[in-house]
């Protein structure tokens, strides 16, 4: 909490419920709706479609002072920017992709497999690269000291996994379906259930962190982080697909989610491509 926020809450100390001063969901919905409507008008008038979140998105209150106000400066990547750090099985043990076996007992919740491929913008598989995930448990609680949500911690679930992609860019995690959780953006704010993903490409300029969501979540339209992506087609790219072929008999349900990184700018040698 910044000094300023602290001073503010001190001055307002006669207000017993801090949430009583917070914006309502209706206020947030209206702000999101106005931004989206303006975006759609722009597209209809011939403006280009957006594929990434806005970084200046006021309904997500924490973004107000944390986004650059100047345009990103376009640059042609050079040298180090055309390469990525290498990771391998020295870095990540094969068992780290199963989040349900990290403790002595079975974690509580719906056991799921989440799998898919990491591809670059030209459809090339991103091979042998690091994928990291972290998530809340089946009650919506993170194993993190700053998470004060009074939902139970599961002694059999940490919620952290890693893997190295296969030759076809594939990744696969066994985990527990996370629950939605409350946060303090506005009064009665809840995040849709999600898994955080951290990804590397062949070029460091492809580095990204994102969140995977589950199909049909009723909280989508209420969530300013998800809605910071103004384009519906782009938002849909963060939603996994239920896939019954990943589901296994009396054991787990399954989801598929492919991830596309921005285009590689490296000069690809034919043999490298086919390697």
């Amino acid at each position: 909490m910044s000094a300023e926020t602290q001073a503010e809450s001190f001055e307002n100390s006669h207000v017993l419920d801090p949430a009583a001063t917070a914006d309502s969901q209706e206020t947030i919905n209206k702000e999101i709706g106005d931004i989206h409507a303006a975006y759609r008008q722009g597209v209809e008038a011939g403006g280009s479609e957006e594929t990434q979140p806005r970084i200046d998105f006021a309904p997500y209150r924490s973004s107000l002072l944390r986004h650059p106000t100047k345009d990103l400066h376009h640059v042609d990547p050079e040298t180090i920017e055309l390469w990525s750090p290498a990771f391998g099985h020295r870095d990540v043990h094969a068992l780290e992709s199963d989040l349900t076996i990290q403790h002595n007992g079975e974690p509580i919740g719906e056991r799921i497999i989440v799998q898919g491929k990491v591809l670059d913008g030209d459809g090339r598989p991103v091979r042998g690269q690091l994928v990291e995930i972290w998530q809340a448990n089946a009650a919506g609680r993170y194993v993190h000291k700053r998470d004060q949500h009074p939902a139970p911690i599961d002694p059999n679930f940490t919620g952290v996994g890693r893997c190295i992609t296969g030759d076809d860019g594939s990744y696969k995690f066994t985990t527990i379906k996370p629950a939605p959780y409350p946060w303090k953006n506005h009064h009665n704010a809840w995040r849709p259930a999600h898994i955080h993903f951290s990804l590397f490409g062949t070029d460091f300029t492809q580095r990204m962190i994102t969140q995977m969501y589950f199909p049909g979540d009723p909280l989508f339209s209420l969530d300013p982080i998800y809605q910071s992506i103004t384009d519906q087609k782009a938002r849909d790219r963060l939603v996994a697909t239920y896939d019954h072929s990943i589901t296994s008999h009396e054991w787990n349900t399954g989801y598929n989610w492919d991830i596309v990184l921005t285009g590689s700018n490296r000069t690809w040698m034919e043999d490298e491509d086919a390697e």
Binding site: A3, L65, T69, I80, L238, L261
Partner: protein, 190 residues
């Protein structure tokens, strides 16, 4: 460059959120070299918001060449055996927004090129990661010839050049917004 006929649309990014601390930072993640490594330096600074307040929940990654300008292809970043230089580091800032990496000054990757360290910024409240470059301050001629730096007005250009401290350490502050806002970069295909 191959004919860049981009066929797939990139997946959107999202904020790192507040709860990455138990998942992403790892032991010695900020030590690209051991502190006893000859020529090791500290690269440090503060991440601040639009009011100039430190941001306590930001995570940074750097990626750089070694002191000879060689780009490492070695794995082992996450295990940190203290002698493999992998060129990559990760650190969570502390409660006052301060970060420290232990690394080496990167050499020029090509003769006459201005050496720089690539930096990626993640934070709660930041909806997508940001990229920037940390240039070493010494080679005035290379800096003057650098295509990125020479395309910027002086007050913006300054934000990309680290300050060399008396003991040889590098200081580089990151201002997400406001006065002296750091120049952040976008790349083709993004």
């Amino acid at each position: 460059m191959t004919e860049a006929t981009t066929k797939l649309v990139a997946t959107p990014g999202q904020t790192i959120g507040p709860f990455y601390g138990y998942a992403l930072p790892f032991e010695k993640g900020h030590e690209l070299v051991h502190r006893a490594h000859p020529g090791s330096i500290r690269l440090h600074g503060v991440v601040t918001d639009g009011h100039g307040e430190p941001i306590p929940d930001s995570m940074l990654e750097i990626w750089q060449a070694d002191e000879h300008g060689k780009i490492s292809r070695q794995d082992g970043s996450l295990v940190r055996d203290d002698h493999t230089f992998t060129g990559w580091g990760r650190v969570a800032v502390d409660n006052v927004g301060h970060y420290t990496f232990t690394t080496v000054n990167p050499g020029p990757t090509e003769e006459g090129k201005a050496p720089f360290i690539l930096l990626t910024v993640f934070a709660r409240g930041l909806l997508n990661r940001l990229f920037t470059r940390i240039y070493l301050p010494e080679d005035a001629e290379a800096l003057a010839n650098d295509p990125l730096l020479s395309s910027l007005p002086e007050e913006r250009r300054r934000t990309l050049i680290a300050e060399r401290e008396a003991n040889g350490d590098l200081r580089f502050d990151i201002r997400l917004q406001g006065d002296n806002e750091t120049v952040f970069l976008s790349y083709p295909g993004a």
